[in-house]
C-alpha cells in the first residue's frame, strides 16, 4: 500500500518551522551545544537543546503546564505538522485520525527527579504530580487530549530506529478504511543522566563536532526535540516502501542486517538521495558500506552534525530532511566528513531531478530500519 505525506513539523535546536530550519541547515549552520551539569556528578556534558522560547507558547496549554519538555516538543511538532497539512481536526475527523508516538528514553527529566526524591528522602517524599509524567505514553496522551483524538493512540518505544517502526505501524493501521490519516510523532528530551549513560557506553564525545563516517568513530552529542509527519493516502510525496526493520544482537551484526534491508529498499530502483543516521559512532561504518554497495549514485546527507543525536526523534528528522531534499531539490552541506570517505555529497541534482530518497536508521541499541520516499511531481511551491 502506498501512503502519502500530507504534512511535516519539527522542533529542533535550530527552530521549529520547516522552512526556517531547512534554510539554516542549507547555509551550514549548527547550533551551539549547551552545557548540562547536575549535582549527581562532577562532569559537565554538552548537548544540543531546544531554546525555551521555541516552546513558550505551547507550554501555556492547560494540559502542558506541568508536563515535561518532551511533551511540549511533541505537541508543538504535531500541531505544526497538522497545520502544514491544512488539517484542522474536528470531532468527526479526529475520530478518523490515529496517533503514533516514537519514544526512546521518554520523560527522563521527571523520571530522574521523581527517583531522586525517593533516594534522598524515601518513598514517602515521592511526588504524585511527577509520576504520571514519567510514563512513556504521557506525551501521546497530552497531544491526543489537545487534538480530541478518541481512537487509536500508540506509543512505540525503541532506539533511534523507532521512528521508522512507527511509520511502519502507521502503514499497518492505514489498511483500516475507517482511518483517514495517522499523525506520527517522534520526541526526546536531553538530560544529564542520559549524557552520562551514553558517555559511559563510550558513544558520547565531550565537544562538537560530530564527525560522521570518521575512523575510528569519535562519538556523538545528544540533542532534543520532536519530528512529526501526517501520513495519509495521498500526497506529492509517497512513502514508497517502509521496511519493517530488524534487530542486531551484537554490534558486529549490524552491517549484515543493514545490507539486507538496503537491498530490499533499493529493489531495482534508482535512489537519488540517501539520508543516513550516521552520528560519529559504530553505526557509521555499516551505513557507509550500505551507501556504497546499494546507493552508489545517491547524494548522501546526515543531519546529525548539525542537529545532534535526538534518538526517538531522529528518524522523523531524517524523513523531514528527505522530504525537503525532494521538495526543494537541494541538500544541506554534509558537515565534518573526512575528505577521503568516498561518499557522494552533491548539494543539487546534476543531470536529472531528484525523485527518490532513502532514509536508513541504525539505532544504538539493536534496532535498524529504512524507508524510501518518492516524489510524484516537482513542485515550485517551496
Amino acid at each position: 500500500m502506498s501512503l502519502g505525506i500530507a504534512g511535516l513539523g519539527w522542533v529542533t535546536p535550530l527552530g521549529a518551522t520547516i522552512e526556517e530550519v531547512w534554510e539554516k541547515l542549507c547555509s551550514g549552520a549548527a547550533p551551539e551545544p549547551t552545557a548540562i551539569s547536575e549535582s549527581l556528578g562532577e562532569k559537565t556534558f554538552r548537548a544540543y537543546q531546544v531554546p525555551p522560547a521555541v516552546v513558550a507558547e505551547v507550554a501555556r496549554q492547560p494540559r502542558l503546564r506541568r508536563s515535561s519538555a518532551i511533551s511540549r516538543f511533541a505537541v508543538l511538532a504535531g500541531l505544526n505538522a497538522l497545520r502544514d497539512a491544512n488539517i484542522e481536526l474536528d470531532e468527526a475527523s479526529a475520530a478518523r485520525t490515529a496517533l503514533i508516538f516514537a519514544i526512546s528514553n521518554g520523560g527522563v527529566i521527571y523520571t530522574r527527579r521523581f527517583y531522586q526524591k525517593i533516594v534522598e528522602s524515601g518513598a514517602a517524599a515521592a511526588s504524585p504530580l511527577l509520576f504520571p509524567e514519567t510514563v512513556f505514553n504521557a506525551p501521546a496522551s497530552h497531544l491526543a487530549a489537545i487534538l480530541g483524538i478518541t481512537g487509536a493512540t500508540y506509543t512505540l518505544v525503541g532506539d533511534g530506529a523507532v521512528g521508522i517502526l512507527a511509520l511502519k505501524m502507521a502503514e499497518e493501521l492505514m489498511t483500516n478504511s475507517e482511518l483517514d490519516r495517522c499523525l506520527v510523532v517522534g520526541a526526546e528530551e536531553a538530560d544529564w543522566l542520559l549524557c552520562d549513560a551514553y558517555q559511559r557506553w563510550r558513544l558520547l564525545r565531550a565537544e562538537p563536532p560530530i564527525e560522521p563516517f570518521a575512523r575510528p568513530p569519535r562519538g556523538m552529542l545528544l540533542s532534543e526535540g520532536a519530528g512529526a509527519v501526517v501520513v495519509g493516502r495521498e500526497g506529492k510525496l509517497s512513502l514508497q516502501c517502509i521496511h519493517p526493520g530488524g534487530n542486531f544482537a551484537h554490534r558486529r551484526e549490524l552491517a549484515g542486517h543493514l545490507d539486507a534491508i538496503a537491498r530490499d529498499v533499493q529493489a531495482g530502483n534508482s535512489t537519488d538521495v540517501l539520508i543516513a543516521s550516521a552520528n560519529g559512532t559504530f553505526i557509521d561504518q555499516a551505513e557507509e558500506a550500505a551507501a556504497k554497495n546499494h546507493f552508489p549514485e545517491a547524494a548522501v546527507y546526515t543531519p546529525k552534525p548539525a542537529l545532534g543525536e535526538s534518538v526517538g526523534a531522529s528518524a522523523l528528522w531524517q524523513l523531514i530532511c528527505a522530504a525537503q531534499a525532494l521538495r526543494t531539490q537541494q541538500l544541506p552541506p554534509l558537515l565534518h566528513v573526512p575528505a577521503d570517505c568516498g561518499l557522494t555529497s552533491a548539494r543539487v541534482p546534476s543531470e536529472k531531478d531528484w525523485h527518490r530518497a532513502v532514509v536508513t536508521s541504525c539505532g544504538l541499541n539493536q534496532q535498524v530500519a529504512a524507508l524510501a520516499l518518492q516524489l510524484k511531481s516537482i513542485s515550485t511551491d517551496r
Binding site: Q116, N137, H142, T153, P244, A249
Partner: protein, 408 residues
C-alpha cells in the same frame, strides 16, 4: 450465540488463531502450573522483598520466584540480563516447545517500564559516587524496553522486526490487538505477541504516591475496594492466519476474533466517570468481531480494584452487556502493567479451554452502584462462547480483545 460474521463486510478477512502460548507470573511458570493455580483460585500476593517498602502504604505484590526462571541458560551473557529478559525468555521457550516451527514475521510486545530496576541501580551507583561500578555498562545496555524482546528472540533462535508498545497498563492487550489486525489485514501470516513487566521500586512507589495501591487485600469490584497491588510477569502468544495454521495441522488453542481501542482524554491518570473510554473499546471490539453483546459469555475485566477504574469499567460492562459473568484475576497476582493484558489473555484461554471461569478473589460484598455478575471467590463452570479481555491505562488508553477458546 448471535453471529453476524457471514453477512459482514469482514467475512473475507483472514481469521486469527492462537497456536501456542507461554506464561510466567506469580501464579507459576508455565501453562500447567498456571492452570492449577487458576483452578485453585490461589492468592499469590506476598510481601515485597526486592526493595524497601517500609515507607509505602502498600507493602505487598505479586512476585515471580527467581527459581522459576530455570529455562534461562546460565551463561555469561544471560547472567547479565534483566529479570524482564529472563521472564520473556522463559515464556518464549515454553511457546517454542509447543510450536518449534513457528517463525514470526513480526513481534508486537507490550511493556511499561522495560529494565527499570537497572536504571535504578545505575542512579544509586551515581548517587553513592561509585564512579566505576562493575555492572554499570551492562545496566545501561540492558535497560531499554526493547531489549527483553530482542533477548528472548535471540535466546530462542528467532529473528523478527519488533514493535514494542508502551501504552501504559493497556500495552499487552494493545500488542495482541495490533498483532491480530496485522494478520487480519492479510499483510502477515505469523506474528508473535505478548507483554512483559518486572517489578521496580520507581513504579511501585509511583502507584503508592498516587494512593492507587492498597495496604489491604486487592478486592476488585468489591464495595470496600481500596486499590491495586502490583504484579509482574510475561506472556507470549503465537498468532497465525487460521487457514495457514489448519493447513499445517497446528493445534488451535483459541481465536482472537476482535479488537477495540479507544482514548479517553479526561485525565492523565483517571478515567472519565461516564465510562465512555472502556465502553468505546468494548463496543469496537464487538464490532471488529461482528458479534452482538449477547454473544459474550465471560469478561476478564481490567478490574484493578481502584475505586475509579472499577466504577467506570463496571458501569460500562453493565450498560453494554447486562449481567454477564465478570472476574478480575488481579486479586490473585496483582497488576502486572504492560504484561497484564497478555497474561490475562492466556488466563482466559486456559480457563475457557478447560470449561471454567476464573475467580475474582477477595470479594466480600457487592458494590450497590454496580449491577454486574461477579465470579466471586471460586471458579465457576462455563460453556463454550466468546470472552472479552479488557485493559485500561494511564493516558486514557483503553483496549479490549475478543477471544474464542477451543475446548482442550
Amino acid at each position: 450465540m448471535t453471529r453476524e460474521r457471514n453477512n459482514s463486510p469482514k467475512k473475507n478477512q483472514p481469521r486469527v488463531a492462537v497456536v501456542a502460548a507461554g506464561v510466567i507470573s506469580p501464579l507459576g511458570a508455565g501453562l500447567e502450573a498456571t492452570l492449577e493455580a487458576l483452578r485453585a483460585a490461589r492468592d499469590c500476593i506476598s510481601p515485597v522483598t526486592r526493595f524497601p517498602v517500609e515507607q509505602c502504604r502498600c507493602t505487598t505484590a505479586g512476585q515471580v520466584d527467581d527459581a522459576w526462571l530455570k529455562n534461562v541458560p546460565n551463561d555469561r551473557r544471560t547472567r547479565r540480563l534483566h529479570r524482564a529478559s529472563r521472564m520473556m525468555i522463559c515464556a518464549l521457550t515454553e511457546l517454542r516447545e509447543q510450536a518449534p516451527d513457528f517463525e514470526p514475521e513480526l513481534s508486537v510486545v507490550g511493556t511499561t517500564s522495560g529494565g527499570m530496576s537497572f536504571g535504578e541501580d545505575y542512579y544509586r551507583a551515581l548517587e553513592r559516587k561509585e564512579l566505576r561500578p562493575r555492572h554499570l555498562p551492562s545496566w545501561i545496555a540492558n535497560y531499554p524496553p526493547q531489549k527483553p524482546v530482542v533477548d528472548a528472540l535471540e535466546a530462542c533462535g528467532l529473528s523478527s522486526p519488533c514493535q514494542v508498545i508502551a501504552n501504559a497498563c493497556a500495552s499487552g492487550t494493545n500488542a495482541i490487538g495490533h498483532a491480530f489486525e496485522c494478520i487480519r489485514s492479510g499483510r502477515y501470516t505469523r506474528v508473535l505477541t505478548g507483554g512483559y513487566d518486572a517489578l521496580s521500586e520507581l513504579v511501585f512507589v509511583g502507584f503508592d504516591s498516587l494512593q492507587a495501591a492498597t495496604p489491604e487485600k486487592c478486592r476488585p469490584f468489591d464495595a470496600a475496594r481500596s486499590g491495586l497491588v502490583l504484579g509482574e510477569g510475561a506472556a507470549v502468544l503465537a498468532l497465525e492466519n487460521l487457514s495457514a495454521a489448519e493447513a499445517r495441522g497446528a493445534t488451535i488453542l483459541a481465536e482472537i476474533a476482535g479488537y477495540g481501542i479507544s482514548t479517553d482524554n479526561h485525565h492523565l491518570t483517571q478515567p472519565a466517570p461516564s465510562g465512555i473510554g472502556p465502553r468505546q473499546a468494548m463496543e469496537r471490539a464487538l464490532q471488529s468481531a461482528t458479534l452482538a453483546p449477547a454473544a459474550i459469555t465471560y469478561i476478564n475485566a481490567h478490574g484493578t480494584a481502584t475505586p475509579f477504574n472499577d466504577a467506570t469499567e463496571g458501569k460500562a460492562i453493565s450498560e453494554l452487556f447486562g449481567r454477564v459473568p465478570v472476574s478480575s484475576t488481579k486479586g490473585m497476582m496483582g497488576h502486572s502493567l504492560g504484561a497484564a493484558g497478555a497474561i490475562e489473555a492466556v488466563f482466559t484461554i486456559l480457563a475457557l479451554r478447560n470449561r471454567f471461569l476464573p475467580a475474582n478473589i477477595n470479594f466480600r460484598s457487592s458494590d450497590t452502584e454496580l449491577d454486574i455478575d461477579i465470579v466471586a471467590n471460586e471458579i465457576r463452570s462455563a460453556a463454550s462462547g466468546a470472552a472479552l479481555s479488557n485493559s485500561f491505562g494511564f493516558g486514557g488508553t483503553n483496549a479490549s480483545i475478543v477471544i474464542e477458546a477451543r475446548a482442550a
